[in-house]
Symmetry: C2
DNA sequence: GTGAGCATACCGACCGGTCGGTAGGGTGGT
DNA sequence: ACCACCCTACCGACCGGTCGGTATGCTCAC
């Protein structure tokens, strides 16, 4: 539960990192945007990349929880896939800036933290993969296209979403999410 | 038609930008990797971001040409879509580094160049969109999912490809391309 | 001799991070 | 009731180092 100052710093960092990139954003810019001082920032964070770490942690934690919750419902494969995709697209649309930073600057994490995130990401990936494979094994889905390719396609759209999605666009996120889910499910018939 | 020195510089820049990011790569690193000196680099390029510009230009030019060639064949919509996707996936796999840089650092281009690329990108986008819309109008494709969403999904995978594709992986690019095309076409039935 | 193709030495700006210090609110001994 | 003490939160000037870019001059093919 971050305090007000801490939160202002993270919000400003997310906004600036998304708009300009991590390296192109100076600590000075962040503190100016957050209306705090450098002293305050380094009081709460040991280094600039702790900000990145924190941004990723918040995003991943909430998305993992979403997926686990949906799988816990025990729905049929098709409905599970739909629920996962809709929730993922909607939550990504809600947090485009965080996602943009995540996708673009993942590599900037140090070795150890990188490994930690890869593991979590892999788990996330494989949970979704298992749902599709089960659907294929049960005959609910077609097996023409291998499950891992389907997963790649699905995560591909989501991760690219920050490139074109605009909150003030014509299609509300939930409509978009529905279309994407429709298309993926159509491909699995 | 770049000379040998110029080409060495671009190759080194692509490799380093892909591995570390644009801002995290210093001009010193580039000239060291290319085995030239700073004088040589600034003899051929006016600024560091001219390198980015050149990388993008080479990539976009060749991909646009590929797509125009395929459309020129005048095949039925389904085959056109398949050909476009396969050629795009294969050529992206051949140039993962360029694509990674392109996707990650597009924003670093200045306003004017950015506008130029957006226009070219839009044209590319809309050419593919038109193929799908025509297929839907002719009844060859289903219209359940709007064409623009299909385009977003297709380009999503391709742009994310550098994140997971490894040239030494189990699946050769052409197999991968086939699977992706199969899936997209299945979604269009 | 002259211009293309480099090499080398160097510049000022700016960057992430540090550090000595302060403001103010709680706390415990008397 | 009061004050000594401390601790958290924060300030902002400053530092060493690195960065993109430049100025100048050599060399060699034509």
């Amino acid at each position: 539960m971050p305090g007000a100052t801490e939160q202002k710093i993270i919000d400003a960092a997310v906004r600036l990192f998304a708009a300009q990139g991590y390296d192109a954003t100076s600590v000075q810019e962040i503190v100016a945007a957050a209306e705090v001082t450098k002293g305050a920032l380094y009081h709460y964070f040991r280094a600039k990349d702790d900000l990145l770490f924190e941004i990723y942690r918040l995003l991943i934690t909430s998305q993992s929880a979403d997926m686990d919750r949906i799988i816990g419902l025990g729905l049929p494969a098709a409905e599970t896939v739909r629920e996962i995709l809709v929730s993922l697209v909607v939550s990504t649309a809600e947090r485009v800036d965080e996602t943009a930073v995540f996708v673009r600057e993942l590599q900037r994490l140090g070795e150890e933290r990188m490994a930690e995130f890869r593991a979590e990401r892999r788990r996330y990936h494989e949970t979704f993969l298992a749902v599709i494979e089960k659907g294929q094994a049960d005959g609910e889905f077609s097996s023409v296209v291998p499950a891992d390719t389907v997963v790649r396609i699905a995560f591909g759209v989501v991760n690219q979403l920050p490139m074109w999605y605009r909150p003030d666009g014509a299609k509300p996120p939930v409509a978009l999410a529905g279309e994407i889910a429709d298309f993926v499910l159509a491909g699995l018939r």
